[in-house]
Amino acid sequence: MQYLLLLYANESDWDKLTPAQQEQGVAAYEAYRQALKEAGALVGANRLQNASSATTVRIKDGKTQVLNGPYADSREQLGGYFLIEAPDLDAALSWAARCPGASHGTVEVRPLWSM
């Protein structure tokens, strides 16, 4: 089965880190990616620009509304994702727990709708 790991974290916490700490943080994610790949579990992954760069679009009563900012204004923002292949939820949760994002934010684990 495939699971999407959605990484939520407080962006301002990241901005407060020193460059050396940020570098270490990025390296941890890179290592995590590498481990997923070695285990044959990696399907895809990406990091997103800050939530302030987001724009939302919806059509209400036939009129298009375009708004600045993310869909949900919350303390923690969606910052990236990993799409993984795992035999079951327990295996997906164990990957989620290893994700660096789980120690400085929250990782939401969602199974994909299988077509």
């Binding site: 270490q24 941890a28 481990a35 070695e38 327990d90 164990s94 727990a97 290893r98 660096p100």
Partner: protein, 421 residues
Amino acid sequence: MSASEGDALARSTADAVARRSYGKLVAFLSTRTRDVAAAEDALADAFAAALADWPVNGCPSKPEAWLLTVARRKMIDGSRRRRTGELAANDLAVLYEGMQAAVDEGTEIPDQRLALLFACAHPAIEEGIRAPLMLQVVLGLDAATIASAFLMSPDAMRQRLVRAKNKIRQAGIPFRVPEAGELRPRLDAVLDAIYAAFAEGWADAVGTDVARRDLAEEALFLGRLVTELLPEEPEALGLLGLMLHAEARRRARRGANGEYVPFAEQDIERWDRRMIDEAEAVLLRASRLGAVGRYQLEGAIQSAHVHRRMKGVANWDTVVVLYDALFSMSFSPVVAINRALAIAELRGERAALAALGEIEDDPRLTQYQPYWAARAELLARTGERDEALRSYDIAIGLERDPAVRTYLQKKRAGVGAEAAG
């Protein structure tokens, strides 16, 4: 006494009884019917009734007997409601017959927790759910807490616990301590489940995660319980000794800033000496019973490591001998990795890498952080830097604990710097 003081007293009395007697009460209520879930429900109702009644009427002098009387009434009511046939009638009969005597004032409630532990770790129960089942049934931990500790979704954990309890009832798993002939293998299953709970709690070194830190304590409680009820079983003592040794070093595993401190660099002043003494005494008792086993060997290895640090005398030859014995008894990747690291100290990195090579085809290792960390460390020492860096990357990516992750990243950076310089 004010109303809120009465509430507080009632609550703390109920908490104390729950802590001390939960498993005893569940065991007693379910031994004959084998319906653990019904016993837990009835007991939950009884605790709720206590929190309503005790602040008003005062705490009873025998709170356990009070709870048991109320729980028994709830169970009988429940059984009457569900009475659909022979089974319910039978339940009723055994409930009346079995409990009357024990509930009478002044009678000690018989301790059947050991029988309950054996039921939870019965071979008919799926291995992975045995430890969670014990934690819930004997200690009263809720499913959500257990789920977090075992990294499982609360819903899935709840369902598996329900299934396991149904199995006990439907399959007729007996609540009894096995006969001498089958006691040892069945006891191993009980001890394995207790150790699994301990290991989950142990993974949280800082103790920031209260649920998991408590798990180590709960496992120690169960370990002690088994040794009290079966004082002549060497492996039960071995497990207790092993857990005490590990627990004694909990505080030393983190530095002042929360950083990971490996065993060799721990400040031995921060070890709990009383716990170490207790561990040593327990292991000595085990060794006098004359039957070596896995947990005694693991306890002995812990003991050897601790002695080396405290006395400053190298004893790697002893450690390797103990690991060889353990390795021949139970093949596990964990043992193989630690054995290889001990071999590195005694016979050098090449010999250790050769020992690791013997197990590299085991598929369990691809996602096992300690294997990659050990490999990286050994390769770095032999100067095979590229391979070392790659192994460090995988180890870092597989680690859950941020403090250990940072530690591994530092080690990796050290190797990377050498490579560049």
